[in-house]
């Protein structure tokens, strides 16, 4: 052991144990993460209180006010059948956030057990799981989701499943590689040598020690899923219209690009803001959870 390693060790704060407040404090120290958290909380608030705060019914058509530019009555204007863009944006938040979170949960539910099983058992189980994941990854994500949606039909649940199924490949691979390195660690061997059962080995030793990058990946995954949902809606394959989603709002904006360019900004900016917030939080989590990278990014 050279003393440099001790010096480096000393550089990471001789912080107390890993518990909620500590990593939260670390995250809060990360300015961008704080920004991200604020935006996320704000959008969750907007989504939850949509029925209260939105000025109009998002489905209410008004043929006297078609494609209006922003005005006092309609702060973000109206669309081609006169629906209030502000209200649609507010209701769209519900869809985007729900789909984003749900997809990531589904991805973790599919991906994490597969990755842990593959790493723990190795051999043909590993080979079979990995080839399955390879096959899944050989179909471009959007095409995979499109196929699944055509089979399942478009609702919040199916869209989330389609996106989560695609995202799960990355989760499996990530947790597998982490778990494989845990498998080589002496504490894992020590637990095996003690006679700890396979189930406990997997879920008490392997999983908690491999989950960190998965958490980071998941927070970035929310952003990917929101983008994915928007893309599917844009193609007319997401949650079925007239339910407002940011994606189908953009799709309408595209159709009216020349006559009403103002329509493309609200949903676009909303997507960018929320997605970037999740990636800030993800980066913050990475820094907090992985001391190795501390100070590097």
């Amino acid at each position: 052991m050279t003393e440099l390693s001790t010096a480096e060790e000393a550089m990471t704060p001789r912080a107390s144990r890993f518990n909620m407040p500590e990593w939260l404090i670390g995250l809060l120290r990360h300015k961008l993460s704080v920004f991200g958290l604020v935006i996320i909380f704000l959008s969750v608030f907007v989504a939850l209180s949509a029925s209260v705060i939105s000025p109009y019914d998002p489905l209410q058509q008004d043929y006297d006010n078609l494609l209006n530019p922003p005005s006092f009555g309609h702060p973000l204007g109206t669309d081609y059948v006169g629906r209030d863009v502000t209200s649609r944006l507010i209701y769209g938040t519900q869809i985007s956030l729900t789909v984003g979170l749900l997809s990531v949960i589904i991805a973790a539910l599919i991906g994490v057990p597969l990755g842990v099983l593959a790493a723990f058992y190795g051999g043909w189980i590993d080979a079979a799981i990995m080839r399955f994941i390879d096959a899944k990854m050989a179909i471009p994500g959007l095409m995979l989701s499109m196929l699944l949606l055509l089979t399942l039909g478009g609702s919040i649940m199916t869209v989330s499943f389609a996106l989560g199924f695609g995202l799960s490949s990355a989760q499996s691979r990530l947790i597998r590689s982490q778990a494989l390195s845990v498998k080589e660690r002496e504490y894992f061997q020590a637990a095996r040598a003690m006679g700890v059962s396979n189930f406990k080995l997997m879920f008490i030793h392997m999983l908690p020690n491999s989950i960190q990058p998965v958490i980071v990946q998941a927070s970035l995954g929310v952003g990917f899923a929101i983008l994915g949902e928007a893309g599917l809606s844009f193609l007319g394959l997401g949650v079925t219209p007239p339910t407002p989603t940011w994606g189908n709002m953009l799709s309408l904006a595209f159709d009216n690009l020349r006559s009403a360019p103002h329509l493309m900004y609200p949903p676009g900016i909303a997507i960018v803001l929320v997605v970037i917030s999740f990636s800030f939080v993800g980066d913050g989590l990475r820094d907090v959870l992985d001391p190795r990278l501390r100070g590097k990014i």
């Binding site: 899944k136 959007l142 095409m143 952003g223 953009l250 690009l257 360019p261 493309m264 676009g268 997605v275």
Partner: protein
């Protein structure tokens, strides 16, 4: 080396078979009955006997495994069937449309590689300066941009407001080079910037990591000038994870191409796949998925080869 290649090829074939079986199976549970794309929207005029006859003609009445085997044995000899929608041979449709998609994907890839790696390396070397901050934050924003929204903004700025570039219409570069480039710039950018951002972040962090390695310290202890340390010692070593990301990018680019082709009205296979999917045009869907899968599988193979070229530890393993 040959054995390594054979092995990877074997794996690729297994993956290909799994993909084709998965997609084939998925298609058969589609609620959309393919009969409508064969006979057109108006199927009222057909008696059940006629419908059954048509199904039999297309082999749709056989058990699923038999259908799959029929499809596979025809597919490998180059008979990819005829489109349910227009009866044209799928291979001919692909031949006409694939070049547009390749042109789009390659352009986006080049933009990603050139911008991504160069800014990533520079950001790493100028770590914690304003250049690093600019590059890192633009990459963050770029990663949060949906391709189609970026495309919308680009169209709005360059075509609608500035009227510099055409929105619609496209050409192949060897047929009408000038128009091809003019009409491709926006799609290339829209599709390529996400990749550039990913590659930028990866090459930055992997460069930073390499610069902290023991052998970099060794090189410095030999008195190697810093410029040489970076170019000769650090760059090649830090490329490894970048190459991996590059391989994974191909899938994203193909997926992204679907939307971009729809938006810019590029007659590529992405656009074709959207129509085929909504019409349950099995032969076309199968062909498009298989081509994408093969592109991804080949990209992974090439990644592995590049890896072993860059890293002798893999080459001689």
């Amino acid at each position: 080396m040959t054995r390594f290649l054979l092995n990877r090829l074997g794996q690729a074939i297994i993956v290909f078979l799994m993909v084709s079986a998965m997609v084939f199976g998925a298609l058969r549970i589609l609620p959309e009955d393919p009969i409508y794309s064969i006979v057109g929207e108006d199927s009222e005029g057909y008696t059940p006997e006629q419908v059954a006859k048509i199904k039999a003609d297309y082999g749709l009445d056989k058990p699923l495994p038999v259908q799959y085997f029929d499809w596979l044995s025809a597919f490998v000899v180059g008979d990819w069937g005829n489109s349910f929608q227009n009866g044209l041979p799928v291979t001919r449709m692909i031949n006409r449309k694939l070049p547009f998609t390749i042109q789009l994907a390659l352009g986006a890839l080049v933009i990603g590689v050139v911008f991504g790696i160069s800014t990533g390396v520079v950001a790493a070397l100028k770590r914690n300066t304003k250049w690093d901050a600019i590059a890192t934050s633009s990459a963050m924003v770029a990663l949060a941009l949906p391709e189609f929204w970026l495309a919308l903004v680009l169209i709005l700025v360059f075509s609608v407001y500035l009227d510099l570039l055409p929105v619609f219409g496209s050409a192949l570069i060897w047929q009408d080079p000038l128009f091809a480039i003019q009409s491709s710039i926006l799609p290339w950018l829209a599709l390529g910037i996400g990749g550039a951002a990913t590659l930028m972040r990866q090459s930055r962090s992997s460069m930073l990591e390499t610069m902290g390695e023991d052998f970099i310290r060794t090189a410095r202890s030999k008195g190697v000038p810093e410029r040489v340390v970076i170019i000769k010692h650090a760059l090649r070593n830090s490329l490894l994870p970048v190459v991996t990301i590059l391989g994974l990018r191909i899938g994203r680019i193909i997926g992204g191409a679907i939307i971009i082709e729809v938006m810019f009205a590029i007659p590529g296979i992405g656009q074709m796949s959207v129509t085929a999917l909504t019409k349950a045009d099995y032969p076309v869907i199968m062909a498009v998925t298989m081509i994408s899968a093969m592109a991804i599988i080949v990209a992974n193979l090439v990644t592995d080869l590049a890896y072993s070229y860059i890293d002798p530890r893999i080459r001689y393993a």
